[in-house]
Symmetry: C2
Subunit: 257 residues, 2 copies
């Protein structure tokens, strides 16, 4: 089951135009399936909803009823999952109400583990990012130095590709006051660019700031409104942007992209 766009419809992730697809390149939305692998099978979205339904309903029968699935299949699936993941549900046959099923601690833990992973993955698809084209000019191990329009930066990069896209997640970008910017030496070395604020877009309690750093596309930073107030950000303001190299990733690109 697709759970790549948070709860509900995968189409909800990006605003798409229904008509085209031919011309509008922005109509393709990133998505993903969350999985937990063990021993040979993977615990997926459908399995998570099944466990949740059992937890709610108190019986496998009632669970598959509400989900519109078949009992036999769900039971088999549960058996296979328990071979790999251990006991997930305890079932009583006979007794009050005819019996029932309930999640074990392990089953409940697996469910929260799944949700935790899903939350982390959803960050990749939901958070804005800026991608800068560049060329690798040096490399030490898994870290490459990439020359971009904004300047040189260091990022995790796969080997053997001279042309790269560097993608910088907005939630990893830190903004600092341009005047009081501390010297780079006394913190963990980081990618650091001076820029001027282009736009400030307020969310509920979070602010998306676009900063011109000399590239053709601005750097996007996601910070709390509290931070935004402290730095009193407004268009035209000078800021220092910084982001860790271990948090930015480069991927190969076609040289003429």
């Amino acid at each position: 089951m697709d759970d790549g766009s948070g709860p509900g419809d995968p189409a909800a992730a990006g605003s798409r135009s229904r008509d085209a697809g031919m011309t509008d390149s922005s109509s393709v939305a990133p998505a993903f399936d969350t999985k937990l692998y063990a021993d040979g099978i993977t615990f997926e979205g459908e399995d998570a909803t099944l466990l949740r339904a059992i937890d709610d309903a108190g019986s496998l029968n009632a669970a598959v009823e509400t989900l519109g699935r078949s009992y036999s299949r769900a039971h088999k699936r549960l058996s296979r999952l328990e071979e790999a993941f251990g006991s997930l549900v305890v079932s009583q046959r006979g007794g009050t109400g005819g019996g029932g099923s309930a999640l074990t601690d392990r089953g409940r833990a697996l469910l929260t583990r799944f949700e935790r992973l899903r939350s982390g993955l959803s960050g990749v698809t939901e958070v804005a990012e800026t991608v800068l084209p560049g060329e690798v000019i040096a490399r030490t191990g898994e870290i490459a130095t990439v020359e971009t329009a904004a300047g040189r930066l260091r990022a995790l990069a796969p080997p053997d590709a001279p042309a790269m896209f560097v993608t910088i997640r907005a939630d990893t970008v830190t903004l600092q006051d341009a005047d009081a910017a501390p010297p780079a030496a006394e913190t963990s070395a980081r990618n650091r660019f001076h820029g001027t604020v282009r736009g400030v877009e307020h969310g509920e309690s979070v602010v998306t700031v676009t900063v011109d750093i000399g590239a053709d596309r601005p750097l996007v930073a996601l910070i709390t409104d509290r931070s935004s107030d402290m730095l009193d950000l407004e268009p035209g303001a000078a800021v220092v942007t910084s982001f860790k190299t271990t948090a930015t990733r480069a991927t190969p690109r076609n040289p003429r992209e």
Copy 2:
């Protein structure tokens, strides 16, 4: 197709013990499927490998031959994909060698977009993280203040859950010299904890540092060896750890976990 563990076998992501599954809770490995959604269908891992094979082989026929798939199915799949994503391949019927197929710029761009997404998602499953249990004590919009064993921190959190797990990705944690730690006011406000280095594990050009910050589990930070040298990190050293609240996510947990 499963691509949640990088290229190849999904089992490669975590070292698992083949025998159990019953007792070893760490034998479950996170994984994912990368998807690009457009108009009604999703471009998935299989589609990506098909496009790559076409790009390599120069013809759809040779591509499906090397992949062991059927021509008819691959052709139909391509047609459906192109309805949603636009022209992905150009094909010539007849001519030298009987004809052939090649990727369009759009097709190649879709491929790199897919790979870029996959790279970002793989960061979630590959990078170490520390998860701290805690209780929500305040909330403003999508940001919650969570009380943990290490102290209070702020994180993105779903509504309506008092008990939370806060997960902090190692690549979002910044280390600073404890002596020269700048005041928190002049940067974007961040979660900040004093701690002492417990372990330093060297990778190829990257260092994993575990820092005791007062919780029962240490905070894990992933920094470059260059940064590690500058801070001259070693067990027992005092450091200041900091991480952005927009980069840390909280997920509901069972109160007794």
